[in-house]
């Protein structure tokens, strides 16, 4: 199973290069830290003007086929947009909407795809409702249920960490139907009990949705024969995009550290000259660089059965660890200031815990990899 002689090769297309450049400049410009802090306080979930700009750049349709109004590229290109968003801690519905579109592409009925995918390309927000109060990362055994009577589905159960649910035109939720996992598309008008959650990453807008009493026509079901492959695909796609956010975040945290180490003086010396601070900062850099290499290899290999899954899980494990280490040290290296809410280090640490907790942390993925590789 383990072939250490095979040289893994990262491929990087012209489209990726262009998107990375555009997205890096866009994020630097539109998501400076003071804006990010304003967004945390803001009443509305997103700035419509900014969202419209991102939609007009075509970012929501990158991985949607041209027949539905997208660019017909892949998630490898989406990665190049999400990485800089991670660096600047942008909390946008790009990832949620991309993942919802991926769910439709794998398991949506023709009617669902034709109705929703073109709208997503134009900026309609959508999201996934997979997590539940148990906090288990396993996606294919939901506690929420759907019961069928004639042509009507009645839902019951609670979904957690539904990001951007309040601005989404529809959500795709996992439920158990006839003893098997199923995905249902719920339009906003049918949602009744949607509560904002208090989450550690304050740049996120996360919601808890109680499904009890929601009734849907059977046409709201995604293709049940494809549930399993859709959930597996979403799991890896989410890991890939979270890895991109975490890699960008690790770089952002390193920049926060370096900036302070270059300007703060103690005992008449810049604190960055002390090896006790300099050396762990280099370790954070090396961890981020390694994670970034895994990220772009995962982007290269995405969708290629076993090797693709291995690459994505390695990217998720390394990027979670890299962001956690860099942001943890960022707090410590700011000394007393690091203990304050005003210091940006905490924003990165909070983001790090979020990224780790969503879709499996590093040891979860290493355990999965051990099953595949040992």
């Amino acid at each position: 199973m383990l072939d250490t002689n095979k040289k893994p090769t990262i491929l990087f297309s012209d489209e990726q290069e262009q998107l990375l450049e555009v997205a890096t400049n866009f994020c630097r410009d539109k998501f400076p830290m003071n804006e990010t802090r304003k967004r945390i306080e803001a009443k509305e979930d997103l700035s419509q003007a900014l969202w419209d700009e991102m939609a007009s750049l075509g970012w929501l349709g990158i991985a949607i086929p041209e027949e539905f109004g997208g660019s017909g590229l892949t998630l490898a290109e989406v990665v190049t947009v999400v990485e800089p968003m991670g660096e600047y801690l942008a909390g946008t519905p790009v990832v949620a909407t991309t993942l919802a579109a991926q769910a439709l592409l794998v398991a949506g009925t023709s009617a669902q795809k034709e109705t929703w995918l073109p709208k997503i390309c134009e900026g309609t927000i959508a999201t996934l409702a997979l997590s539940e109060p148990s906090g288990d990362w396993t996606l294919n055994a939901p506690d929420a249920t759907a019961t069928r009577s004639d042509d009507t589905l009645t839902l019951k159960g609670t979904k957690t960490f539904v990001t951007d649910a309040a601005s989404a035109a529809f959500i795709i939720a996992s439920v158990k139907l006839d003893g098997k996992a199923a995905l249902v598309l719920i339009e906003r008008a049918s949602l009744k009990n949607v509560t904002r959650e208090i989450v550690i990453d304050e740049t996120r807008r996360s919601y808890r949705i109680i499904l009890d009493g929601i009734t849907l026509p059977a046409s709201a079901l995604l293709d049940m024969t494809k549930t399993e492959s859709a959930l597996a695909h979403i799991d890896l796609a989410a890991c890939l995009l979270l890895s991109a956010e975490a890699c960008g975040g690790a770089n952002g945290a390193i920049n926060v550290i370096v900036e302070y180490l270059k300007t703060r003086k103690q005992f008449e010396r810049y604190i960055g000259s002390y090896q006790a601070l300099k050396h762990p900062t280099v370790d954070a850099l090396l961890a981020m660089e390694a994670a970034r290499s895994h990220l772009y290899y995962a982007a290269t290999m995405f969708g290629q059965s076993v090797e693709g899954e291995v690459a994505v899980r390695m990217a998720k494990a390394t990027s979670s660890d890299a962001l956690s280490f860099a942001s943890d040290r960022a707090i410590q290296f700011h000394g007393g200031f690091g203990f304050t809410y005003d210091c940006d280090a905490q924003l990165y640490r909070r983001r790090g815990i979020w990224c780790e907790a969503q879709f499996g942390d590093a040891s979860h993925h290493r355990a999965k990899l051990a099953e595949m590789l040992l």
Binding site: L2, D3, T4, N5, K7, P8, T9, I10, F12, Q16, E17, L20, E21, N251, I254, V258, L261, K262, R269, Y270, G272, S273, Q275, K278, H279, T281, V282, D283, L285, L286, E289, A290, R292, S293, H294, Y296, Y297, M314, A317, T318, S363, R366, A367, L369, A370, L373, L374
Partner: protein, 404 residues
């Protein structure tokens, strides 16, 4: 170098040809434990075995393939040499023992040397007829290389050498040395007093004394210089310009710059070998590989080993190195050497009580290979600039952190 790049089909054919040649020509088991890098060549029988092996590969046309033909190279595309090197690693063949010549003195001479120097030195480097050693570190100046104090005092068109160099791998067998010496002790800036020489070793006034290593074996030496006289034609670069030449040499040594002759210089351990070990080692009556903690550690090593290969791949993509262009190249040595040290250490921890055996005991696992290679791994975390100095260099040059 060749002008046209080989087609994928040509590369494939060549790969098969090389694999076939090595399968047929790989050396027989010598009957003694071979060293794993040029720094570990301790006995004459090890040395002659390895020298013959390099010569055989060179004569088959598989070494220095991309170096210019006029100096004994093959004048072929680098891609072919890379295939050969990979195949040598893959078949776990003995390494190329003239490492200093092939990987840093050679490319240095090709880059900065005079026509005479290229003609005189390059062919012997490839054939292993002329073994090279390195005179950088001194007993009192290891990491602080720029402070080297060995004196080279000008006397007409000669220089007189006095002082000592240490960690001279292959020193007993070397015909030549790359030497960093102080030609002017009175400069304001310590770097400006240094000059770089290519010197003969077998001359009066140079004495090589073996050093017993922490493994109990030999391989390193201390070299003593007492009024040893060399011609001024041994200079490479300008008199007083030695620091720039030393930095260029270190860039070759650390692999930050290409141009090496090819062939592998070290038989690194791979995590796959440790996985094999974990299958036979026992924990609580069961194979160690079933222990969840050991599985997690193994996966960390598997991921880390792949990180290094992926960093090499990403390092070639400019658009993915925009923010800190030197980062990946400069951190490879630190990441790779520390990885080897920890991997070997972990391999010992898998052996249970048997970790306490050593080379020579019949019950030592794999003949004590892991114990020895754990100790030898420090040669890379210390040599070529310690890991601690590497942290400083990366922190200062890549991240822009202040020196003081």
């Amino acid at each position: 170098m060749s002008t046209s790049a080989p087609s994928p089909a040509e590369l494939d054919n060549f790969r098969r040809e090389v694999a076939d040649w090595f399968t047929k020509n790989k050396p027989k088991d010598p009957g003694f434990l071979l060293p794993q890098s040029f720094m570990e060549v301790g006995t004459d029988e090890q040395f002659y075995f390895l020298r013959d092996w390099q010569k055989k590969i060179y004569e088959a046309g598989y070494l220095g393939m991309a170096w210019p033909k006029e100096y004994g190279g093959g004048g072929k595309p680098q891609a072919l040499q890379d295939i050969v090197t990979r195949e040598m690693v893959k078949q776990k063949l003995p390494f190329m023992t003239n490492t200093i010549g092939l990987n840093w003195a050679g490319p240095l001479i090709l880059n900065m040397g005079t026509e005479e120097q290229k003609k005189a030195y390059i062919p012997g480097i490839l054939s292993a007829d002329d073994i090279w050693c390195q005179g950088f570190s001194e007993p009192d100046h290891g990491s602080d290389l720029g402070n080297a104090q060995l004196k080279a005092t000008r006397d007409g068109n000669e220089f007189v050498l006095n002082g000592s160099k240490i960690w001279t791998s292959l020193g007993r067998h070397a015909k030549y040395m790359i030497l960093l010496a102080r030609t002017n002790p009175n400069t304001n800036n310590k770097y400006e007093g240094l000059s770089f020489f290519l010197i003969p070793m077998k001359i009066p006034g140079i004495e090589v004394q073996p050093i017993k290593k922490l493994t109990g074996e030999y391989g390193f030496n201390q070299t003593f210089f007492t009024d040893a006289r060399i011609s001024e034609s041994c200079l490479i670069g300008k008199e007083g310009g030695g620091w720039a030449v030393a930095l260029a040499t270190l860039a070759f040594e650390r692999g930050a710059v290409g141009g090496q002759a090819g062939g592998h210089s070290m038989m690194s351990k791979h995590v796959s070998e440790v996985v094999t070990l974990a299958k036979t080692a026992k924990r609580n009556g069961k194979p160690a590989i079933e222990d969840p903690v050991i599985r997690d550690r193994l996966l960390q090593f598997i991921i880390e080993e792949r990180s290094q290969a992926l960093n090499m791949s990403r390092g070639r993509i400019k658009a993915l190195n925009q923010e800190r262009p030197g980062s990946l190249a400069m951190s490879g040595k630190l990441a790779g050497s520390e990885y080897q040290r920890r991997l070997n250490q972990f391999a010992l921890s898998l052996q249970g009580a048997n970790a306490a055996y050593y080379v020579g005991d019949p019950l030592a696992i794999d003949g004590g290979l892991w114990q020895r290679s754990y100790f030898n791994a420090f040669s890379a975390t210390i040599g070529g600039g310690t890991s601690e100095v590497q942290h400083n260099i990366i922190g200062e040059r890549v991240l822009g952190l202040p020196k003081s």
